[in-house]
């Protein structure tokens, strides 16, 4: 019946389902009933049974069509098990073998022998299809096998063919305590079929010298020695040793010779003592032999951030005083300060008293060590009412020149007043005078003893060094309330590029107010001149009013932070997400812009450039509501990169600049070691009771004849669309109509 209705088909077994919409069925049925009802009028039913029967059958056919009957047949069949091929598509498969073919091309030859196999390729994950290029990273053989097992869970495969050079980054082999490598069985899944391992590439056949690891933390501390350890390997190259070169930001930082052991491994260490805070690119490289297969793995970069653990301060004072006492107490109580103090307790003029040297606790002033040998170890030097001549003697010029160079190279100097300082200390015309923020050499009287209250200048109102309060008006008021000072050293005025932050309320010089506090950027360093020796009164006299000594502490804290120029304590800072990124990743850098009071500055413009090995990329973007501007830089080029930015406020004020570095690693982990790993592949084959096929050979892969797969089938035959059903409905309708006409009805 069904075959007749649906014009043929195999329906052995199965059942009928109705797939029509209920409302359609109800509508059609209603319409049919109405049509039949109308057809019974107006004449009696007698003699019209044939007509009505034909129309009723046509209506029934229509209702059947609306019910959409479908015949559902289900069955299953058994087919032979499948063979699956996994081809390693990592970058090491792109290495060219001595015969001139890449490993991937050799793998394709294996694929050609298995035309009916299902194909996958893998690096760090499993992907369907054939590999077009060898460009995946992080080869994980065990991971690929696990993914395969999950994919074919419940099905027996006739064979699994793994085609690879065996260079694995997923930890297939574990290094045991005895130094030997062993396969980690827990890393392997229960495989759905017999495994055949086909090795591509000859062991140690490719000549290569590579830097395989550079070990150094991401952080180092300023002036604290640390070690950069470098591992190098050679394969198929007749070398007893190689020269390892270390550079810092492109500048030579040392060379070492690394001797290779019998396994072709070498190790060398570079002791490094950072002499400046910030981020630096350390790059290690070895020369490539003429036939080096992978020159790209002959160097490796590491970006290291150098931070201060403590600020190292040298306080030298020519005469103990309250000013010296309060500054020492402030510095000594700051856990972030490593203080070295030297106070001159006795001068040549005091030698007349009849005390024997052994009665004294005095030690010799180690000025040569401090101002020559150890000078670079200090972040900040404070010369407090210190006259150099009696101590430096013939070395004065040399030691003051050292101090000036120290500043130009990034050091900080605070030059404080007193009866032995400024022109009273005979600094005019010395090398040190050239880096001070004030001009010395005043003729005649060089001090004014009258007490005074300094005034905050316009620059001082903006500068972080003289910010006692975040609010500008409050800051002005705080400075106005501070106690008067005892008098001041005089000067010829500020140096050309200095900023005067505090000025004398009445004394003038060179047409402007006498500078009391002036600052200057000199080369990479900073200097500050405070022409009084009574800043301690901001602490002690202020405390007498019940107000505490916060003003004094804030002033010196700010002065110290500004002087040492900590990268994180600037108006403009830049921070990269990661010091070391891989090619193809996007490096993100965040620029933070703050105003002079260190409040976030929205609406500023950040202008700068990214300097890479192949040129510069300009950038310009605004800061958001939090004073932040985020830079995203694609990292296509390997090597050291530097981002330099400066910020300009909405009003056009230059806010400062910042820069940072990062490394796009010049090493590809996939190319660290390019020699195929037959040991790993043979161990894998053994552990899985599989077959290992050596490079350059071939034999049939393991095949499990018993492996089969059941193919389940489900077939749906829509009866409502069968042609005969339509014919039947049309025929019945025509017959009924003919009968009706024959009876003389319309």
């Amino acid at each position: 019946m069904m075959a007749w209705l649906t014009s043929g088909g195999n329906f052995a077994g199965g059942h009928l389902v109705w797939s029509g919409e209920a409302w359609v069925l109800a509508t059609v049925a209603t319409l049919v009933v109405i049509a039949l009802g109308l057809a019974t009028r107006p004449t009696p039913l007698a003699g019209r049974l044939g007509e009505l029967a034909a129309l009723a059958l046509a209506g029934l056919g229509l209702v059947l069509l609306a019910a959409r009957p479908t015949w559902l047949a289900e069955g299953e069949r058994t087919e032979p098990g499948r063979v699956v091929v996994l081809v390693d598509a990592s970058r090491s498969m792109g290495v060219t073998e001595p015969a001139g073919q890449t490993r991937l091309a050799l793998a394709r030859e294996v694929l050609a022998r298995l035309p009916d196999a299902e194909r996958f390729h893998f690096g760090g994950d499993l992907r369907p299809g054939e590999a077009l290029t060898a460009d995946l990273g992080a080869t994980d053989i065990a991971g690929a096998l696990q993914a395969l097992s999950r994919r074919y869970a419940g099905e027996a495969l006739a064979g699994i063919v793994l085609v690879t050079d065996g260079i694995d980054r997923g930890g297939l082999l574990r290094i045991e305590a005895d130094g030997r490598r062993r396969l980690d069985p827990s890393a392997l899944p229960e495989l759905p079929g017999p495994l055949t391992v086909v090795q591509i590439g000859e062991d140690r056949a490719v000549p290569d010298v590579a830097v395989v690891d550079v070990r150094a933390g991401a952080f180092a501390f300023l002036r604290a020695p640390f070690t950069i350890e470098v591992d190098v390997v050679r394969t198929a190259v007749d070398l007893a040793a190689t020269t390892v070169t270390l550079t810092r930001n492109g500048q030579a930082a040392g060379t070492r010779s690394a001797a290779f052991d019998q396994l072709g491994r070498g190790r060398v260490s570079f002791p490094v003592t950072p002499d400046a805070p910030g981020r630096f690119i350390y790059e290690v490289s070895v020369p490539a032999p003429p036939d080096d297969a992978v020159p790209g793995n002959n160097s490796m970069s590491r970006a290291i951030r150098v931070v201060r653990d403590r600020v190292r301060v040298l306080q030298v004072c020519g005469s103990p005083s309250m000013d010296q006492k309060f500054l020492r107490l402030f510095l000594k109580e700051d856990p972030g300060v490593d203080l070295v103090s030297f106070f001159i307790l006795r001068t040549m003029a005091d030698m007349g008293s009849d005390y024997a040297p052994q009665e004294l606790s005095l030690i010799e002033f180690p000025y040569r060590r401090l101002f020559a040998d150890d000078l670079a170890t200090f972040d900040l030097v404070i010369l407090q009412n210190f006259d150099h001549e009696p101590y430096f003697e013939r070395d004065s010029d040399r030691l003051l020149e050292n101090l000036a160079e120290y500043v130009k190279n990034g050091g900080a100097l605070a030059f404080l007043g007193g009866d032995r300082s400024f022109d009273l200390g005979e600094y005019a015309g010395t090398p040190l005078a050239e880096v001070l923020p004030i001009e010395l050499g005043i003729p005649g009287e060089s001090v004014d003893p009258a007490p005074f209250a300094p005034t905050l200048t316009a620059a001082g109102a903006r500068h972080p060094l003289t910010r006692l309060a975040a609010d500008g008006a409050e800051n002005q008021a705080l400075w106005g309330r501070l106690p008067v000072l005892d008098g001041t050293n005089l000067s010829l005025g500020p140096a050309d590029d200095a900023a005067v932050l505090l000025a004398h309320p009445s004394l003038t010089t060179g047409g402007g107010p006498l500078p009391i506090l002036a600052v200057r950027q000199v080369g990479l360093g900073r200097t500050m001149a405070l022409s009084v020796d009574s800043s301690w009164r901001w602490s002690f006299a202020e405390a007498s009013t019940g107000g505490g000594n916060q003003a004094y502490l804030r002033f010196w804290k700010s002065a110290m932070r500004w002087l040492v120029g900590d990268p994180d304590d600037q108006a403009v800072t830049i921070e990269v997400a990661r010091e070391n990124v891989e090619p193809g990743e996007v490096q993100k850098a965040v620029v933070r812009v703050r105003d002079a009071g260190f409040a976030p500055l929205p609406g500023a413009t950040v202008i700068g450039e990214v300097l890479g090995p192949r040129g510069r990329t300009p950038l310009s973007l605004p800061t958001d509501g939090q004073g932040l501007a985020t830079i995203e830089v694609p990292t296509a080029e390997r090597g050291a990169h530097r981002i330099k930015v400066r910020a300009v406020s909405a009003g056009g004020l230059q806010l400062g600049g910042a820069e940072t570095v990062y490394a796009v690693v010049t090493r590809d982990p996939e190319l660290d070691r390019i020699a195929p790993d037959s040991e790993a592949l043979q161990a894998l084959a053994t552990a899985t009771a599989g077959l290992y096929i050596a490079p350059g050979t071939w034999q049939a892969p393991l095949y499990d004849d018993a492996a089969a797969r059941v193919v389940r089938e489900r077939r749906e035959s829509p009866l409502w669309s069968a042609p005969l059903l339509g014919v039947f409905v049309a025929a019945m309708a025509s017959l009924g109509w003919w009968w009706r006409r024959r009876g003389g009805r319309r």
Partner: protein
């Protein structure tokens, strides 16, 4: 420049400006410290006290009660960098002044007891190396102090140091030093200079560079 403020109460205190002028002059002649050789007399609640960060309290009898305002100012003065040398002019271990001073210091710093300074304290090596701190008398031969932070802003002698320094208008010493005579007075002057230097340099002489060097030269152990 540094000078001396003598704290004066209604009774029990002694004023010895000549002793302090002598100390300041000796300090100028012996050290690089610039001094203003004068002594001013102030009540402990006088705000002018904060212009003189080196103060002394010398007495020979019981002290009257100190006002709350004076106590508050003294605490503030000593907590924010001022220095007070207390000198018992009687030399008597059980003097009324001693009882008064201990009571006063107990009120000022109830959680900081007056304690004997260790023999390697910075005050014994701030300029001279001193083994026996003495004054006009040599009864106790130790100093005591109250410690705040890393410093002792209050140091107390019961051997009448100012008595050894005091002079008459004609320049002659006012009192004899017993039992050591002039050599004892010399030690007293050295102690006075050390007190002044300690007030300025605090624990400077305990910095590593100094300790190492003095030990290398065998001047301290």
């Amino acid at each position: 420049m540094i000078d001396v403020a003598e704290l004066q109460l209604a009774s029990g205190t002694v004023s010895r400006p000549d002793a302090w002028v002598r100390l300041l002059l000796e300090t100028v002649q012996t050290t690089s410290v610039e001094c203003n050789p004068r002594a001013v007399q102030l009540a402990p609640d006088d705000p002018e006290l904060f212009s003189h960060p080196f103060a002394v309290l010398v007495g020979d009898g019981e002290l009257p009660p100190v006002s709350d305002r004076a106590r508050e100012q003294l605490v503030r003065y000593l907590s924010y960098g001022g220095f007070l040398f207390v000198d018992d002019a009687t030399g008597d271990p059980e003097s009324g002044f001693d009882r008064s001073v201990r009571a006063l210091l107990g009120q000022l710093f109830p959680t900081r007891p007056l304690g004997v300074l260790s023999s390697d304290h910075s005050v014994y090596r701030s300029f001279f190396l001193i083994e026996r701190p003495v004054g006009r008398v040599a009864v106790h031969q130790v100093l005591a102090g109250v410690q705040l932070g890393s410093m002792h802003p209050v140091i107390y002698s019961q051997d009448d140091l100012s008595g050894a320094l005091d002079r008459r208008a004609d320049g002659m010493d006012r009192s004899a030093c017993v039992p050591g005579g002039e050599s004892q007075r010399r030690e007293a002057v050295k102690l006075g200079i050390n007190l002044l230097l300690y007030a300025l340099t605090s624990n400077y002489k305990h910095d590593q560079a100094h300790v190492r060097r003095l030990m290398e030269e065998g001047r301290i152990e």
